[in-house]
């Protein structure tokens, strides 16, 4: 009568061990996938943030350097939009290159988001924010000019703030 009980005990231990190994495998794989996804997300977010701040910085610097023979101005175009404008005159007509922050629809998910825009118009065309081209996501864009020094406060979509300072070389730098 007692023989089967003795032989069943190691089998139960073996089954429990197999189950334990299976659960260990499941837990480890879940942990690895979660951790991998989190690190991947952090890396992509960080790269995107670096990318946006570099694009914004490069666009602003190249816009001012390329047209620095003209006047660099700060224009309050509406309650929400303050633009950094570089004005040049060709054949008696003034042309405005404007950099500003405005809303646009994200092409990836269709959600409205704040973007850095660039527009180029002659003085006889009324400014419309949607006539420009959105360049990259940017939450904040606050330009100011003091003593021939241009300062632009930027805020990326992740909320990181940075400052760009530029010495205005030849332009009139009129406020």
């Amino acid at each position: 009568m007692s023989k089967p009980v003795v032989s069943r005990s190691p089998r139960i231990i073996q089954s429990v061990f197999v189950l334990l190994l299976l659960s260990l495998f499941a837990c480890l794989s879940a942990f690895l996938v979660t951790m991998g996804a989190q690190i991947y997300k952090n890396t992509v977010d960080s790269a995107e943030e670096n990318n946006h701040s570099r694009i914004a910085s490069a666009v602003i610097r190249s816009a001012v350097w390329a047209e620095d023979g003209g006047d660099v101005q700060i224009e309050k175009l509406s309650d929400d939009i303050t633009a950094l404008s570089v004005v040049n005159e060709y054949d008696g007509v003034k042309y405005y290159k404007r950099l500003y922050c405005a809303m646009d629809t994200d092409p990836l998910d269709g959600e409205p988001r704040s973007f850095l825009w660039e527009s180029y118009n002659s003085e006889d065309v009324e400014f419309n924010p949607e006539n420009g081209e959105s360049l990259c996501e940017l939450n904040g864009f606050v330009p100011s000019i003091e003593n021939n020094m241009l300062t632009v406060e930027l805020e990326t979509s992740a909320g990181t703030k940075s400052t760009i300072r530029m010495a205005l070389r030849t332009g009139g730098a009129v406020k």
């Binding site: 197999v18 495998f25 690895l32 690190i39 790269a47 021939n148």
Partner: protein, 133 residues
């Protein structure tokens, strides 16, 4: 007997799977750690480049580099200026070269992390000598 043999095979199979899984997990964790370090390094290079560009512009727009560097918080050390930022050190070396018609002032802004040089940004400004009419 047959049942016991099947159970042992399953156990060995499971142990082998877990062994290979652990090997792959080890490699993956190394890759993730490297990716995170590289991402952090890219962020540091980006931040140091932005700082260096701003300092270069401020130095370009000013006649007195010492005041500009002091306003950023730089301290003079062995002929150059140094500022410890979050995760990297910024160094600025100023060199003046006198010529017949004026002064050529050269700046070299360097971002350093430990022993490694992250960025080097040279900048030069020509200051013409005032001539009487």
């Amino acid at each position: 007997m047959k049942n016991r043999s099947r159970s042992n095979t399953l156990l060995i199979e499971l142990l082998l799977v877990i062994f290979f899984f652990m090997c792959s997990a080890g490699i993956l964790v190394q890759i993730f750690a490297t990716a995170k370090l590289k991402s952090k390094a890219a962020h540091t290079i980006n931040a140091s480049m932005l700082d260096a560009e701003n300092i270069a512009e401020d130095l370009y727009g000013s006649d007195d580099p010492d005041t500009v560097l002091a306003s950023y918080g730089f301290t003079a050390q062995d002929g150059s200026w140094e500022l410890q930022k979050d995760g990297y050190l910024l160094k600025v070396a100023v060199k003046n070269e006198e010529t017949e018609s004026g002064t050529i002032r050269s700046y070299e802004i360097t971002g350093v992390q430990g022993e490694e040089t992250l960025i080097t940004l040279p900048s030069t400004r020509y200051i013409p000598r005032e001539v009487s009419p």
